[in-house]
């Protein structure tokens, strides 16, 4: 740090007094120690971070640096993860939510108090689980064609059977979603992850997030395990428990931004 006052990086908002169980040696982004700051019945979990990295201009450039982005994202998630492990609601903030000073964090809490409280009420006692289904391209076992006509026939047949195999896999993925959705309180379907980004082989046919009340988590995970076994070819990948990232958007909750409701 070059003598500049540190900035405040905010990870999450929790109900007041909640994050008592944070491990003492837990460090946030850039290996920074954690602080909590209470205001109006809410607590912000934050870290002091260097302005040289987190002020607007350097941050913009840093976010383009993949190694830095990965370290920061993992640091952010590490804190959210530790908070999620303890009982109580955690509202995870988006990566790189940074305030100038303590007063800025207080303004953040005070200015959004109603939205935060609404979200906490809606999400308390629930966790997010991620379920993805991947399917590999159909296998080829045919012999080499003997004649030109065989070759063309084989190609037509191959195109037809491939298409049918994908349709079956997609239907299976849809069925997995429907079954999980029955146990979950809410669900969101996210765009399929690019195989090159996720490192998974095969096509991502389902990328779902499920909001599951704690008392139904066991049931949800057992169901996911059962469905994975029934799938046969396609693979099912379960991650969780996550903080309810996919259900925490305040734009969902802010009444003044929604179009007029009927009635």
């Amino acid at each position: 740090m070059t003598g500049q006052a540190p900035l405040w990086y905010v990870y999450a908002v929790t109900p007041a007094g909640d994050p008592a169980a944070l491990p003492e040696d837990l460090r946030g982004v850039a290996d920074a120690p954690l602080r909590t700051l209470a205001q109006d019945g809410l607590t912000a979990v934050a870290s002091p971070v260097a302005a040289a990295d987190f002020d607007e201009e350097p941050l913009r450039q840093r976010l383009e640096d993949l190694a830095w982005l990965e370290a920061t994202a993992r640091g952010h998630q590490r804190v959210i993860d530790a908070l999620t492990a303890a009982p109580g609601c955690v509202l995870p903030l988006r990566l790189a939510t940074v305030c100038r000073d303590e007063a800025g964090v207080r303004r953040l809490l005070a200015g959004n108090r109603e939205r935060f409280l609404d979200a906490i009420e809606r999400l308390d006692g629930r966790a997010e689980w991620g379920v993805k289904v991947f399917a590999d391209a159909p296998e080829r076992t045919e012999a080499a064609p003997a004649t030109g006509r065989d070759y063309l026939r084989q190609r037509a047949r191959r195109r037809r059977t491939d298409e049918e195999a994908w349709q079956r896999a997609e239907a299976a993925a849809r069925a997995v979603h429907e079954r999980l959705d029955e146990v979950a309180e809410l669900s969101r379907l996210h765009p399929p992850q690019d195989a090159r980004l996720s490192g998974e082989s095969g096509r991502n046919l389902l990328n779902g997030a499920y909001l599951v009340p704690r008392e139904r988590e066991e049931e949800f995970c057992e169901l996911a395990g059962r469905l994975a076994g029934e799938l046969g070819g396609p693979r099912l990948n379960l991650t969780g428990p996550w903080a309810p990232y996919s259900f925490a958007q305040v734009t969902d909750l802010a009444p003044e931004r929604e179009p007029e409701r009927a009635g």
Binding site: Q77, A85, L95, G130
Partner: protein
Amino acid sequence: MTSPAPRGAYGGGSSLSEIGGGGSANLADILERVLDKGVVIAGDIQVNLLDIELLTIKIRLLVASVDKAKEMGIDWWEQDPSLSSGARTREPAEEIERLRDRVAALESRRKEETS
């Protein structure tokens, strides 16, 4: 830092892979959540991750991981027409070549038979 212990008991599905939300989760899953989900509230310092930056990050990440995978010899998507435009243009060219040979062979056989 270990990820939190899973709270549920898991069924014994053979194709089920399961990991905690934290430590071991893959980067794509973490970025998917921390970049554009969660509570999107502007701090005092605002970098608009939601539009152009997010896009460039994703594209660069994609490019970086593609290069890394290629270094490791993983290039299966290059053979897949749905993932690579190169594969799509290559395949018909090879096919036309094969068909041409086949037609030539048939023509010469036919010539022999009729003569």
